[in-house]
Amino acid sequence: MTIFGFRLPGMSSLLLWGLVWEIVGRLGITFFVPPLSAVFATLFEIIGTPAFLKALSETAYAFGVGVTAAIAIGVPTGILMGRSRLLDELLLPWVNIFLSAPLTALVPVLMVLFGFGMTSIIITTALFAIWIIILNARAGVMQINRSLVEMARCFGASPLAAFTKIYFWSALPEILSGVRIGVIRAVKGVIIGQLLISIVGFGALFELYSANFLMTHFWAVLIVLFAMAFSISELLAYLERRVSYYAAKR
């Protein structure tokens, strides 16, 4: 964007909104919105504290395991669905239902099945991420160049070799964009899990701060969370652009 001939750096609108936030905060309209400067001051205060680090590691663990599971199961499932008509007919309705279902409503069921611990939180995280990963891997495989598949068969590719050397790489741009969206959903999943299942990690901090009206703390943790989700998604978007480079040429 350019204003008065000046080229503004990306995301400069954030500065504007930060300013609005600061002004609203200083006017003291509501206790819910403390000034942004106070939020940042608190952020630097709490960021090294044991409570924060514990919350961070608990959240990172659930998030990491949940996302890894969603990718490890979702990508092969999606590829297989894209290849097998039968599997596709069987699974696609379920994938579509879960993709648009309000997964939060399923959390109590998970608690009954898997208890009130980390397992349920991890499964919640994975459930939020996996469906879009499956759908994208499937779409990636479905647009594969048929003659690449014939070429591989012709030169004697085993089913496993075709899977790892042709299907996976052909679908990689779509797989990565699925993973990127899945990861963003997983952030939602892990926080919802921590709030609803057992009060641990960042969920516990949110609970603690909001119950005690510590709004600067609340916002500080939320900003940290946003920043982390944003960085992960940007990293994946970067990878996606790297592989799209050849994908555009196929």
């Binding site: 012709c154 030169f155 004697g156 042709i166 990689l172």
Partner: protein, 266 residues
């Protein structure tokens, strides 16, 4: 590549010298009858063209010989062995090149060997030789999108050559390249047939191309799909690549084929 033939090839193949034999091959796609009772012999060490209007089943026949799709009925033998699927005795050159966009020229050419489990250093040495043979030396580390259509097809050709199959199946390999490149390709193909002791099955819809490169031309006609005629342009084969197109026999055969095909072109 040398552009003269080593020696004129024998004109009447012996029974034992048939590399590929199709017997009463039929193929139905649902209600579409793509091939009906097609029988054809492909002499070893020679180039046979499948020529015909589009939709007459040329690609279908080639893919059946490759083992990529099953025939509805009938039998295909390669060197006496019945075809049940793809095999190392056959290699395919694709109309749309079928290169891996994410792999370098070197890996693409070596890919057939990679799938066969040949060790990396060995397969890359073989690939490098064929990259040189098809005239792509210096492009080993390029990617397909950096090459012209003609160069991409050379990569596809090098890949098919590097697995050292007896039979080379080529589905309109030159249709996606420009006219000048195409002519150069045709000359190179003549040299290839002369120098490599391989059987070539070559699909084309260009009459001139078929007559220029073939030892034997099978004319396929649709409705119902069948081999209507087999022509062996023997007289022009030892004339040398540069003189073929001026040869009266070449022009005669082109005319004769056009006469039998023209009724199928609206």
């Amino acid at each position: 590549m040398s552009q003269t033939r080593a020696a004129p090839r024998s004109t009447v193949p012996l029974a034992a010298d048939i590399a590929v034999r199709t017997r009463d091959v039929s193929k139905h796609y649902g209600t579409v009858e793509a091939l009906r009772n097609l029988s054809l012999d492909f002499p070893r060490g020679q180039l046979t063209s499948l020529l015909g209007p589009s939709g007459c089943g040329k690609t279908t026949l080639l893919k059946i010989i490759a083992g990529l799709i099953p025939a509805t009925s009938g039998q295909i033998e390669v060197s006496g062995k019945t075809v049940t699927g793809p095999g190392p005795d056959r290699a395919f050159v694709f109309q749309d090149f079928a290169l891996l966009p994410w792999a370098s020229v070197l890996r693409n050419v070596a890919f057939g060997l990679e799938l066969r489990g040949v060790a990396r250093s060995e397969r890359e040495a073989i690939a490098e030789k064929y990259i040189r043979d098809v005239g792509l030396a210096g492009f080993e580390t390029s990617y397909p999108h950096q090459l012209s259509g003609g160069m991409r097809q050379r990569v596809g050709l090098a890949r098919a050559l590097s697995v050292n199959a007896e039979v080379l199946l080529m589905d309109e390999p030159f249709s996606a390249v420009d006219e000048q490149t195409r002519r150069k390709f045709q000359e190179d193909l003549l040299a290839l047939v002369a120098n490599e002791n391989k059987t070539f099955i070559f699909v084309t819809h260009s009459i001139e191309e078929a007559v220029y490169v073939s030892d034997q031309i099978a004319i396929l006609l649709p409705r119902p799909s069948r081999v209507s005629e087999v022509i062996r342009p023997t007289g022009i084969r030892d004339k040398g690549a540069d003189n073929i197109r001026r040869d009266p026999e070449y022009l005669d055969i082109v005319d004769r084929i056009w006469a039998s095909l023209r009724s199928y072109v609206e």
